[in-house]
Amino acid sequence: MIDVEVIRKDFPILTREVHGVPLVYLDSANSAQKPQVVIDAEAELYAQHYSNVARAVHTLGSEATHAYENARDTVARFINAPRRDEVIFTKNISEALNLLAYSLSNAATFPGAEKFVVGPGDNIVVTEMEHHSNLVPWQLLAQRTGAEFRFIPIDDEGRLVDAAIDERIDENTKVVSFVYQSNALGTINPVARLVARARQVGALSIIDAAQAAPHLPLDVQALGADFLAFTGHKVYGPTGIGVLWGRYELLAELPPFLGGGEMIETVSMQGTTYAAPPHRFEAGTPPIAQAPALAAAIDYLSAIGMENVREHEATITAYALDRLATVPGLRIIGPNTPLDRGATISFTMQGIHPHDIAQLLDEQGIAVRAGHHCARPVCVRYGIPATTRASFGIYTTPAEVDALIAGLLKVQEMFG
């Protein structure tokens, strides 16, 4: 078990007040708060070692390059990647997924990349619970290439319709991209089943781990997918950096996405040859100060232990589900039992708009998110304009769940 009170002391923002009362931060699925070690790591890079990476021969350039490349090793260990050069730094997960989608459409005109070509007659499969980052890039890829865009539907409880997995993913499927843990519903998807089906039909499998990375141990070798992506700011790291992992043999043949500095081998006016992965996919000056700060966040999480993180959050989630069930007129959108679900709970309350709920909770110092959570099709599926969402992290306490419940009852009283 972890000692939440000790962890909370590492997060300076958790001591602040909002509207004259202590902050209760229940919006970690949107973005997680930062421990002091992360803030210090970014400041230290700027204060002591800052220079551009990979190209400067001077001492600072060398130190910054070491810090940046050491961060790649840290990420590789965090996800158990077999090779460090399978880890690509991006701006965030949206860029990571767009990188893949654009590299695939570039395959049509890139010598040697024929195996990646997506075109008419092929299809691309996502799920109905994707957030827009893992939905729009694939719609756009389908539009560019003439492939068909498909999705696996969800049932009333917020789980994938199992029978549809084998039906939607078929012999013509080229790409299967799906969320590990839903940001809108909290659902944890059957990764092994989806990856196995994708492999069976010869499709590429891509895991959106934005909401899984902060909460579960990740092992890309055990998961078995071809690609996996997550973003730094949700794993208690800085904004401006994300990660794309891919199997080396695939990355080695995948065409580039963005062109620019550091992604080339030789450049002439007649043509350019490209660097090996990961640099082929890291055009331009990268997030230099953010990489060591992300590494600091990962070291921080690893010291706590991802199994301990999972256990703590499972306890908090089960407690919150029990307590929310006692609020009259409250409906959970997503699985209402702790089985295969993460620490993110969306709900509606009879007769009160989610934005009113969120605003009134804010006046009591409680930060939650209201809206469609960048997953509008999920709201459409359940016939609601929006939900209120409480999401938990390593620093969430049962007392904060109690504050949420008291806050919700007060909102009901005001609107009653």
């Binding site: 509207h19 934005h355 009134l360 304009p385 929006a386 005001m414």
Partner: protein, 159 residues
Amino acid sequence: MTASMESMYQQIILDHYKHPNHRGELEDFDAEVHHVNPTCGDEVTLRVQVRDGEIADLGWVGEGCSISQASTSVMSDLVVGAPIENALALQEKFVELMQSQGNNTLSEDEVEALEDAVAFEGVSKYPARVKCALLGWMAMKSAVAEAVGPASPATEEKS
């Protein structure tokens, strides 16, 4: 700083939300508009009847957050029976109040003219919610514009 004084949700707002005025479909009307606020998914369909340069009647139906619905109710109370000129002047003052970010510079007379609408001042501190408060007011402005022009003979015909 006490929470109640700071609250965006003044009692007047909650009262109008629970018991909205001029809510309903107007049978005899000169223009109808439908406005949407994508932030909260708020919607309002508003009809106006214009007679002799006045907003003779106004009716609306809508759904959404309390701010959008209550603000439309307050707006209706203020403009029904008012000369169009005055209604549009009030609309401008309300927009100004909403853009004040909590530091309004309206005169005492202007504040008095806005009556219950002043209760929405707190909303101006939350840019994400300003559109909610403006929804009904913007709909009224469009509906009036549609009712009076450019085909003003049509308005005459009906009256």
